[in-house]
């Protein structure tokens, strides 16, 4: 049984279909990324999965139940728009968020104190939220979303607004939650975090899922790139390389041919151009993302009859 399942989720705001038939399957114990450009429908999808808003179509199951509220005490959530009561202390804020999810108050306060200490915020446990820095408050809210040790942790753009040190802390916390056995579902449009953390990911664009798989699968959407620098440059090099080869400051670049780079190398060697430099570079997740999102935009435009032609 998957921790999260969604089939054909649809959400309309007015006449606009913000989410247009999204499917998701998140197996338990994974870190799963929902990637997409701004306005892709990531947040709306997560809010529908959590039952904050109701879908206009499709089905969803969260931790085995079709009613997300029934699993509420087993879920942790960090919304995109962070929110805490400014007059609460950090410890009370963490304990309160635990209490909302069924954690007894006394236990919540004890866990909150320990977690704040561990996160380096022990000195601020009794400080009111309004006196904390934005990053500290964000960390407090994150701790509040895991204080009840949820089976599923949903984080909406968790890295936004954090400095590099706190981003690293957050990455460690996400991994720790996964290692504890929790499923982590997070949205982001920063590829570096997804690349480092995600066991699997989905790319959403224009309200639809455009890709689902591992990071390697995503990178596999594009061919590897070959960077070649001739030892003896000349007019004839261009003709020996694949048609997509482009000259750049570091030499020639072209997609890795289907039959490998060896035939190309044989040709340039035979012509006496030699090899001053050669590397085969796998595409990054960022490049795969840009390609997927770009293709999605073109497809959507085509569907709307707005092709460039």
């Amino acid at each position: 049984m998957d921790a999260v399942e969604a089939r054909g989720l649809v959400k309309r705001f007015g006449d606009r279909r913000v989410v247009d038939g999204v499917d998701l399957s998140v197996a338990p114990g994974l870190i799963y990324g929902v990637l997409g450009p701004n306005g892709a429908g990531k947040t709306t999808t997560l809010r529908m999965l959590l039952g904050i808003i109701e879908p206009d179509g499709g089905e969803r199951r969260l931790l085995g139940t079709a009613h997300p509220r029934d699993a509420g005490d087993r879920v942790g959530y960090l919304p995109e728009e962070r929110g805490l009561y400014p007059a609460m202390t950090a410890r009370d804020a963490v304990a309160f968020m635990g209490a909302l999810r069924g954690l007894p108050r006394r236990e919540g306060r004890a866990r909150a104190a320990a977690m704040l200490e561990e996160a380096g915020l022990g000195h601020a446990a009794d400080t009111k939220i309004r006196k904390l820095s934005k990053g500290m408050a964000q960390l407090v809210q994150l701790l509040g979303s895991v204080v009840h040790r949820p089976d599923l942790l949903v984080l909406d753009e968790p890295f936004s607004g954090l400095d590099p040190v706190n981003q690293e802390k957050l990455e460690a916390l996400i991994v720790a939650e996964r290692d504890r056995g929790a499923t982590v579902l997070f949205s982001t449009h920063v590829m570096a975090h997804a690349e480092r953390l995600c066991d699997r990911l989905a790319i959403i664009a224009g309200g639809r899922r455009r890709f689902e798989g591992t990071v390697d699968d995503a990178r596999g959407l594009l061919p590897s790139r070959v960077r070649y620098t001739a030892r003896v440059e000349g007019e004839g090099v261009r003709a020996l390389l694949p048609p997509d080869a482009e000259a750049g400051p570091g030499g020639w670049r072209f997609d890795l041919p289907a039959d490998g780079v060896e035939p190309v190398l044989a040709r340039v060697m035979a012509a006496g151009h030699g090899i001053a430099g050669l590397s085969i570079e796998r595409p990054t997740l960022h490049e795969a993302f840009v390609r997927v999102v770009g293709d999605a935009a073109r497809d959507d435009a085509h569907l709307r009859g707005e092709t460039a032609a």
């Binding site: 809010r47 808003i53 509420g72 919304p79 929110g83 009561y85 609460m88 069924g102």
Partner: protein, 408 residues
């Protein structure tokens, strides 16, 4: 299990709101607001009383009579004035010796520099003429009464029959109609005053969550109905604390009242009996708070700025005053159609039923009314949460009307 979870969520939210409200310096201001209000009221009252006293202190009823009648007039004035309360009594009596032209003396009395004449009597005792100002008819009748008394004494002398009454206090065994009416009005006014003072506060409570963006966290963890009900109960806890504090203070203060005042309280005779009346009063205060509070909370939740919330305070107060007026009218005419309407209409029902407790000894209608009112409160909470979900969280499918329109 689900009910226990829902209850736990409601009380988690309620506890947060209660603590956040009570443990702030502002709450002390709120708690002592009646003192501040009372102080300003007292200062204003003293000022107004000073002005009134100043004016009344100069007022006189004037009798222009022969020397021989001056003393009988003074004695009659003293005797008749006895049972009257100070605020009911006419202005003090002044006598002027009658001259050759008493009518001219009477007119001159209105221009006297030492006092303000409210009414002036002159002429023969059996046909006196009383001049008076436009608003001083009662002072004029007082002078006529004195003339009548003096004339009767003068004509009959010792033969005039006198009664020798014996005054004995007596405790009424049953409730008097007047006592019931007073109790009814007191109950309606009491519930109205407390809800006016306390229920309006819930209007802005959702604004905090919206401004802090906490609503997203709450909405993900807890059903919105639980958030609404929790907020309502949290603020009701604040109201109960307020009522308990002032109830204790006033309870102790009644011990300091003079015996006559205590007897005045004892004259309040609700039909259901004092203990049941007190319980029903609190029960109806609770339902009035929950009913009006749930409506105000639902309305306030739609407001996104403090300005909008402030704008809501006028209609909110108008609704409360309207319900008070309806229930007061109903309390004055128990059993009438209007009373039935006020008892059934959800927002006026607690007020009207509190009044009914004073007029009607039957208990079962109150049990039915409380269930009726709580049902409506639950409905209002549900509708408020639904409107919030649809309007603010932009959730939910289109309503029936929009679906029909889209289909068309």
């Amino acid at each position: 299990m689900k009910a226990a979870r829902a209850l736990r969520q409601v009380f988690t939210v309620a506890r947060r709101d209660f603590v956040a409200t009570v443990f702030t310096p502002i709450f002390l201001l709120f708690l002592f607001a009646p003192v501040i209000m009372g102080s300003f009221g007292a200062i204003g009252g003293l000022g107004a009383a000073g002005v009134t006293e100043g004016a009344r202190g100069r007022e006189r009823v004037v009798a222009i009579v022969p020397d021989a009648l001056a003393r009988p007039f003074a004695e009659a004035d003293l005797r008749l004035r006895g049972p009257l309360r100070r605020d009911e009594a006419p202005p003090p009596l002044a006598t002027i010796r009658a001259g050759r032209d008493p009518a001219a003396q009477a007119r001159a009395a209105f221009a006297a520099p030492d006092y303000d004449a409210a009414a002036v009597l002159y002429g023969p005792l059996d046909r006196p003429v009383v001049l008076h100002g436009a608003l001083e008819g009662s002072a004029a009748r007082w002078l006529a009464l004195l003339a009548d008394e003096v004339q009767a004494d003068a004509r009959l002398g010792a033969a005039r029959p006198r009664v020798a009454p014996s005054f004995r206090p007596y405790g009424r065994s049953g409730a008097s109609g007047g006592g019931q009416n007073r109790s009814a009005f007191l109950a309606v006014f009491g519930v109205f005053f407390l809800t006016l003072f306390l229920a309006g506060q819930v209007v802005g409570t959702m604004a905090e969550e919206r401004n802090n963006k906490v609503i997203e966290v709450l909405a993900a963890a807890v059903p919105l109905e639980a958030v609404f009900l929790g907020k309502l109960i949290g603020m009701f806890g604040v109201a109960v604390l307020f009522v308990a504090f002032w109830g204790t203070v006033l309870g102790q203060a009644t011990r300091l009242l003079p015996p006559g005042a205590e007897a005045g309280l004892a004259a309040l005779s609700p039909a259901v009996g004092a203990p049941a009346f007190a319980l029903l009063f609190f029960a109806y205060f609770t339902t009035a708070y929950l009913l009006l509070g749930s409506v105000f909370l639902g309305l306030g939740a739609q407001a996104s700025t403090m300005r909008e919330i402030q704008m809501l305070s006028l209609p909110v107060t108008a609704v409360q005053v309207g319900m008070f007026a309806l229930a007061s009218a109903a309390a004055g005419r128990p059993g009438s159609g209007m009373a039935r309407f006020a008892e059934l209409f959800p927002l006026s029902s607690p007020f009207a039923m509190a009044g009914r407790a004073a007029n009607d000894p039957a208990i079962w209608p109150h049990l039915a009314a409380l269930a009726w009112q709580l049902g409506w409160a639950a409905l209002f909470v549900g509708v408020g949460a639904r409107a919030f979900r649809r309007g603010v969280l932009q959730s939910g499918s289109p309503g029936w009307f929009r679906r029909r329109r889209a289909a068309a």
